[in-house]
């Protein structure tokens, strides 16, 4: 059926999405999961709008592979765009089915009825009939594709005061997967090495087993873990195992020089995916520069957690994964089960910004639970969280350009080197769950790959949105680096945009032009121009403002993935030894806004997290292993370092919703880099912009 959203086409049974038997609410099940980003609220608002319900008449049910729709991963800022579109269409169809049933009951025509707070009425009549009263008259086991295209109400309920329903519970008590409890729940912990190339050979299992309260010590190949009656006992048993553990070290790690020097010795798979004919004209102005970012830790505030329970040959798990269906298939493959014999139920975890340890800990829990007859909760330690969760990939960008005498860019080259940004379980042939490679019968990792274009991984946002003449863009995908990498918020966009926008400022300087004016001279995309104009106005951008003296301002702009939300940022900094971020102004075009405060909250968080990456964060290693084992090794932005933040939302009338959680990452990094250069008169091209790097740049 034309117009039916893709996620609904793939899961057309309406009963997968809605339940009407939960008087006095309607149950909604999305495949898009709450990761702390507030998406369940936006989806509830869309469903409420289309069904004619109040927001508190919607019950968002946990995503569940046995009952809900398969919407793949909750990632890439697609949840409202794709998941919301499917819910909207399906809800409108449910409303039409209910209206027909109500018409029969009320003896009226369906198109005469109004629906308000879940009740269908004839206009002017007080009595009516609700969804839940109609539930046994409505068959939701029908395919959306067999029904007519519904009339969409569109828009959203009035949301100025809208608060997230999930927060009040969490802010009063339990609410997370770590808080789940059953009378017979057992506690599991696993033993992981301190070095990325170490594998466990032997450990003294007997002494751990002898510890009172230990239920099982589980060994399978290089995997080891314990199950105990309490978490303290499990931890004590792991400590015993660690004391006696013998490790075998694989390849030595290259030296960590903080500048990705290890990339010089790695052999990439290179793809030049855009190569336009060079112009005949001369380029009297030429420039080239190299930029970098290190590996960045996911660093969730809560440790990865899962609960697993084996019964009758079936595996039930609870997980804060971003992709419960791909996870189900990976578990089935690991254990040689039919997918139907594995069920994954989503439970809320601490903030998730990409592929973290959520999936890996599920396999840990399942391996531990296999040896007992009760559910097992497995928790990671802080050290595991900061070293074994996948990292955001390190990147190196080399840019060069040629300009004519008037400062018009005629040639633009961008090459990016990076290990993969996409090693999520379920991509490619193989199993990408940490313990799977350690088992006595190990499962191979999928072959090297990165997120495919047009979204891209390491090459995400490598193509500038500007009119830059002949473009040559090359992606050098590196084999796995010293640290394991995968998707972290914005993937390659953070560093590619940092590089492109820094380079634009450098070129503007060479052409003797104001950075904003220089960008506008190279940008014809109207929505891009609109956000830059909006941010310039909101931040009071003065053309050719003098910098230096330690005070500076900088601009950064991108359209996320070149197909998502538009974002322009102005950063103001004061630089002495350290960079003090004074103010960040952002203009964002995320199309139609469903939940305004939720979107603002996501953008604010995106700004602060990206500022933290850009100014402070680097994960590294020594010959002894991971350098980041506790928060002391991995500082992030703290409260006194937070800038004033001002966000303006702009969007053309009727533009479709675009996700906003990731769009600020690149522009914020770039705006900070440019502001620092403006303040100092010299540029730091390697993230993070630490005091040492600032001092080095000044004295170079």
């Amino acid at each position: 059926m034309s117009g039916c959203p893709a996620n609904l086409k793939a899961n057309p049974l309406l009963s997968r999405w809605f339940r009407l038997d939960q008087q006095p609410v309607v149950g909604v099940r999305s495949g898009k999961v709450e990761l702390g980003q507030g998406v369940s609220t936006a989806l509830a608002m869309i469903a409420a709008t289309e069904l004619g319900l109040d927001i508190d008449q919607i019950d968002i049910l946990p995503a569940d592979t046995a009952h809900g729709p398969d919407e793949g991963y909750t990632a890439g800022s697609f949840s409202v765009e794709h998941g919301g579109a499917a819910i909207r269409w399906a809800a409108a169809q449910v409303r039409e089915l209910a209206a027909q049933a109500a018409a029969t009951v009320l003896g009226a025509r369906a198109d005469q009825l109004v629906v308000e707070a879940g009740q269908f009425r004839r206009p002017g009549h007080n009595e009516g009939v609700t969804y839940w009263h109609l539930h046994d008259r409505i068959n939701l086991d029908v395919s959306a594709l067999d029904l007519a295209a519904p009339v969409l109400h569109g828009g959203t309920i009035d949301n100025a005061q809208m608060q997230r329903p999930d927060l009040i519970g969490k802010l009063s008590g339990a609410g997370f997967i770590q808080d789940m409890t059953w009378p017979d729940l057992l506690h599991g912990r696993v033993l992981r090495p301190d070095h990325p190339q170490d594998r466990l050979m032997t450990c003294d299992e007997a002494s751990a087993r002898a510890l009172p309260g230990v239920v099982a010590v589980v060994r399978d190949g290089h995997f080891a873990g314990v199950v105990a009656h309490s978490d303290e006992v499990a931890l004590a048993a792991i400590a015993l195992l660690r004391r006696s553990a013998q490790w075998e070290r694989g390849a030595a790690l290259p030296v960590d020089d903080g500048l990705n020097g290890w990339m010089d010795h790695a052999t990439p798979v290179s793809t030049c995916f855009l190569d336009e004919a060079q112009p005949e004209k001369d380029c009297p102005i030429q420039h080239a520069a190299r930029y970098s970012r290190p590996f960045i830790a996911h660093a969730s505030i809560g440790p990865a957690c899962a609960v697993a329970y084996w019964h009758d040959g079936q595996l039930q798990v609870w997980s804060h994964s971003q992709g419960i269906y791909p996870l189900r298939r990976q578990l089935a493959r690991t254990f040689g089960l039919e997918a139907e014999h594995v069920n994954v139920t989503h439970a809320h975890g601490a903030g998730c910004y990409g592929h973290n340890g959520a999936d890996d800990v599920v396999l840990d829990a399942a391996l531990l639970a296999r040896s007992v007859k009760a559910p097992v909760m497995c928790l990671w330690t802080r050290a595991d969280e900061l070293s074994w969760s996948p990292f955001g990939a390190a990147m190196r960008m080399e840019l060069s350009a040629g300009l004519d005498a008037n400062g018009q860019i005629l040639v633009w080259n961008h090459a990016v080197w990076s290990p993969t940004h996409l090693a999520r379980p379920g991509f490619g042939d193989g199993v990408n769950l940490l313990a799977a490679g350690d088992l006595a019968k190990p499962h191979a990792r999928p072959p090297l790959a990165d997120a495919p274009r047009p979204q891209g991984g390491g090459d995400r946002n490598a193509v500038p949105l500007y009119d830059v003449g002949a473009r040559k863009i090359t992606h050098h995908l590196l084999p796995q680096g010293p640290l394991r990498s995968s998707a972290l918020r914005a993937l390659g966009a953070h560093a590619n945009v940092f590089a492109i926008e820094s380079f634009m400022d450098e070129l503007a300087g060479l052409a003797g032009r104001d950075p904003l004016e220089f960008r506008m001279a190279h940008l014809s995309e109207p929505r891009g121009r609109a956000v830059i104009e909006a941010v310039a106005k909101a931040a009071d951008w003065t053309v050719n403002a003098p910098g230096g003296e330690g005070h500076g301002r900088g601009l950064g702009f991108a359209r996320y993935k070149n197909l998502g939300a538009y974002c322009a940022v102005v950063a103001e900094v004061e630089v002495a030894e350290t960079v003090r971020l004074v103010k960040v102004t952002a203009a964002v075009d995320a199309g139609e806004v469903i939940h305004r405060d939720g979107l603002l909250n996501q953008i604010e968080g995106g700004i602060i997290q990206a500022a933290s990456w850009t100014l402070k964060e680097a994960a590294g290693w020594t010959q002894d292993g991971f350098k980041t084992r506790s928060w002391a090794d991995y500082p992030i932005l703290n409260f006194s370092e937070i800038p004033a933040i001002n966000i303006v939302l702009v969007a053309p009338e009727g533009a479709a919703s675009l996700g906003g959680g990731e769009c600020a990452a690149g522009p914020v990094a770039a705006a900070i880099g440019n502001a620092v250069a403006h303040a100092l008169g010299v540029r730091v091209r390697d993230m993070p912009l630490t005091p040492e790097r600032i001092t080095q740049a000044i004295h170079a």
């Binding site: 702390g36 008590g173 770590q178 009172p212 309260g213 330690t381 002391a632 703290n638």
Partner: protein, 169 residues
């Protein structure tokens, strides 16, 4: 009085006052208060974060002062009043803090939030009330947030301080 038992090494009877209720537990005195609250008392609102004294997700009040419960052995709080987020209805300052946080939606995942709210409730109950700079310095030392909700938390602090000024004016 609630009495619970468990087996283990170094187990002793501990008399605690948790959210106004006297509790007698047989646990190892070295057990972290956080584990006692979460695993023995089923009070899950104090979060398990780093368990190393850095992130503050586990913060509770002990005799009114904010304390990281993950590195506080239970023996050290015997006889003292322990307050967790679950007592929000009986602690007017905490209730006010929570009201302001909800009003400003000063959370994303909310995992760090209860600890931050406990710290603010503790500091704002002190007399004289500390100033903004003191509060922010305290948060810098003892709390982390990865979702980047800091700006809203600072807004919440400003609102709470202006309320209290009005109240004392």
């Amino acid at each position: 009085m609630v009495t619970t038992q468990t087996s283990g090494i170094g187990v002793q009877s501990q008399n605690l006052i948790i959210n106004g209720t006297e509790v007698n537990l047989s646990v190892d005195g070295e057990m972290p208060l956080l584990s006692v609250l979460r695993d023995r008392m089923d009070l899950k609102g104090s979060r398990i974060g780093c368990t190393e004294g850095y992130c503050g997700a586990c913060t509770v009040l002990v005799d009114g002062k904010p304390v990281q419960s993950c590195n506080t052995p239970v023996w050290s709080v015997t006889g003292k009043a322990v307050t967790t987020i679950e007592a929000v209805d009986r602690h007017p300052v905490l209730a006010e803090v929570q009201r302001v946080f909800i009003g400003l939606q000063a959370a994303q995942c909310g995992y760090c939030t209860n600890g931050i709210m406990m710290t603010l409730a503790g500091l704002l109950s002190q007399s004289p009330r500390p100033d903004r700079a003191h509060i922010v310095a305290h948060l810098d030392e003892r709390h982390l947030c990865r979702c980047g909700v800091h700006a809203r938390v600072l807004k919440a602090i400003d609102q709470l301080l202006s309320h209290s000024e009005r109240a004392s004016a």
